[in-house]
């Protein structure tokens, strides 16, 4: 698994940064995975629930690569969880996290560059209220710590949280099974 994943990331990085043909579909796929992962984890993880609770009702955000996507859109629903809307926002989102280039989205979504590092490196533009964006960043970090293998997550996060294997399996497992249910039930 470890070698396989590294091999794949390595392949994508070979040659010129710009020409890898798989980057756009990879970013689109990962945005879909993250959107669904956030939806599932907002239903089961206490930390993420706590963050989402503090967002206004009907709050909508997206994450996109400039200039023309890919993109994923989430909304806080009536149950107080995050719903994955898809790749098209029905209105101007309250917060928009915009990667300046597809490659910057790729670096972050292939977990080679952490979210905080991407902010520090001026890769991301935030449109909307910063306090809300900070809550989203914490949700993303939390989800990554739960669902990613530790050897990947430690590179993406400033600090890998103290999760016992049990917590990790339980948290990650719940997210995966919720993910599966959400996929089946639509």
């Amino acid at each position: 698994m470890k070698q396989l994943l590294q091999l794949k990331l390595g392949d994508l990085n070979l040659g010129s940064l710009n020409t890898a043909p798989l980057k756009r579909p990879y970013v689109a796929l990962m945005m879909d995975v993250i959107g669904r992962g956030l939806e599932a984890s907002s239903q089961v993880d206490a930390n993420i629930k706590r963050e989402v609770q503090k967002l206004p009702d009907g709050f909508m955000f997206d994450m996109r690569a400039l200039p023309s996507g890919p993109c994923f859109v989430m909304e806080k629903n009536a149950d107080g969880n995050l719903s994955y809307i898809g790749s098209e926002a029905p209105r101007k989102p309250d917060v928009s996290l915009k990667f300046k280039h597809l490659n910057h989205a790729f670096l972050v979504l292939s977990f080679q560059e952490g979210t905080a590092r991407a902010f520090a490196n001026d890769r991301i533009l935030v449109d909307g209220e910063i306090a809300h964006a900070m809550k989203l960043v914490r949700c993303l970090n939390r989800m990554e710590s739960l669902i990613l293998p530790k050897f990947v997550a430690v590179r993406a996060l400033k600090r890998y949280p103290q999760l016992s294997l049990k917590q990790k399996l339980a948290g990650g497992g719940k997210i995966y099974s919720r993910l599966a249910k959400n996929l089946v039930w639509g």
Partner: protein, 394 residues
């Protein structure tokens, strides 16, 4: 680290030193402006500082057309609209902000309205809304701290909605920052101390944070050295124009550093404390600085240790073993704070402020987590971490 990346940008002309104010008319002329408006506050005017600026226009073939001197400490969109009307009615073509953070932010707001020919400032709030250069805009800082003369942001309150509107654009940067020693000469000791510690914090957080880069580093280190060498000198001899100018330059240099490298947890906590307990920004910076550095020390000790050189000088640096330099740098900052407490009662802890109650710590921590600068702190901070730093700062 072949994967590192950074951006650095500062197009502000620095006009600094003896008789710097007298360069303003010429600088205006090169930008095809001839009818400047001065924006300032009552304190600055009362201290006679506007007279220096007006004096600089004598024999220049150019006059200051209008003076607005009533900017409040917490400016608002209402004030901005009012000043913009005055600007238009008087047929001005450029702005000279003379003051501290509030005057400068207000002036940035006025420049948006008069340049975009708008009435409603809220329409221009956000990132990248402005798309073209604004009117010629000069800043003459009268405190040595905020660095607003070289930052591309402004925060202005909207009293109707009860929110603070952020404005971010390269076009908000002034054309020139004018640093004249006369303008900070009469700054009272406690404000001199607070604002200098704000500048110190800008430089320290820029140098130790996630957005650190080699160009910002150069500015940050020089700023720290100037502040360490001149702050006590200025407090001892308030009319030492050279030392005053050193502090003013340090403040601008620290501003350049942090507007490119950003700040960290000191500012996250300080913004929360300032908002919740209505304490001045520089006071909050001075208060939290060592506690945050101690929090970051385990992971960032080597980088913090490099600051011992500009803070304490070559001899101390050379005789301190590399492994102890981070701790020694923090101790040097603590000594500066102790001295400032002795001289002007600048609080070193939350309890010393006399304005914070212990049950506010939870709320302060929650607010700090939602502050944008926390993401640039080199060490991750969760709610418990923020609470523990606040407890130590109690």
């Amino acid at each position: 680290m072949t994967k590192s990346y950074y951006e650095f940008f500062c197009p502000v002309k620095i006009v600094a030193g003896n008789a710097a104010l007298e360069h303003i008319p010429h600088e205006l002329r090169t930008l095809a402006a001839a009818r400047p408006m001065i924006i300032t506050d009552k304190g600055v005017r009362g201290a006679g500082l506007i007279d220096h600026v007006l004096g600089a226009f004598a024999e220049s073939g150019m006059d200051v057309v209008e003076i607005y001197d009533d900017v409040p400490p917490d400016s608002s969109t209402t004030v901005v609209t009012q000043i913009a009307k005055l600007y238009r009615d008087s047929g001005c073509d450029s702005i000279i902000a003379v003051g501290g953070g509030s005057v400068i932010d207000t002036s940035k707001g006025v420049n948006i309205l008069v340049s975009e020919d708008g009435e409603d400032l809220t329409a221009f709030s956000g990132v990248g809304v402005l798309t073209k250069p604004l009117k010629p805009f000069f800043v003459v800082p009268t405190t040595a701290g905020t660095g607003s003369e070289v930052t591309l942001v402004a925060v202005i309150a909207d009293p109707e909605k009860g929110v603070k509107l952020p404005f971010t654009s390269y076009f908000l940067l002034p054309n020139a920052a004018v640093l004249d020693p006369r303008m900070t000469l009469t700054l009272p000791a406690h404000i001199t101390a607070m604002t200098a510690m704000d500048a110190m914090t800008h430089a320290v957080e820029a140098f130790t944070g996630m957005g650190k880069n080699p160009i910002s580093d150069a500015y940050a280190v020089s700023a720290i050295k100037k502040i360490s060498e001149n702050l006590m000198q200025v407090l001892n001899t308030p009319d030492d124009a050279d030392a005053r100018l050193e502090l003013a330059q340090a403040s601008t240099m620290a501003g350049i550093a942090f507007s490119n490298s950003m700040v960290g947890l000191v500012h996250s906590l300080g913004h929360s404390l300032g908002a919740l307990c209505h304490l001045p920004h520089g006071l909050c910076m001075n208060l939290f600085l060592p506690y945050v550095l101690e929090y970051n020390l385990a992971e960032r000790g080597d980088v913090i240790g490099e600051l011992l050189l500009p803070l304490a000088g070559a001899e101390v640096y050379a005789r301190t073993p590399a492994a102890d330099r981070g701790r020694a740098a923090i101790n040097t900052l603590r000594e500066i704070r102790d001295e400032l407490y002795r001289r002007c009662k600048l609080p070193r802890s939350l309890s010393e402020t006399g304005k914070v109650s212990r049950d506010q710590i939870q709320k302060l921590a929650e607010m700090a987590l939602d502050d944008g600068s926390i993401i640039f702190n080199p060490v991750e901070v969760d709610l418990d971490d923020a609470i523990s730093v606040l407890e130590k700062a109690w």
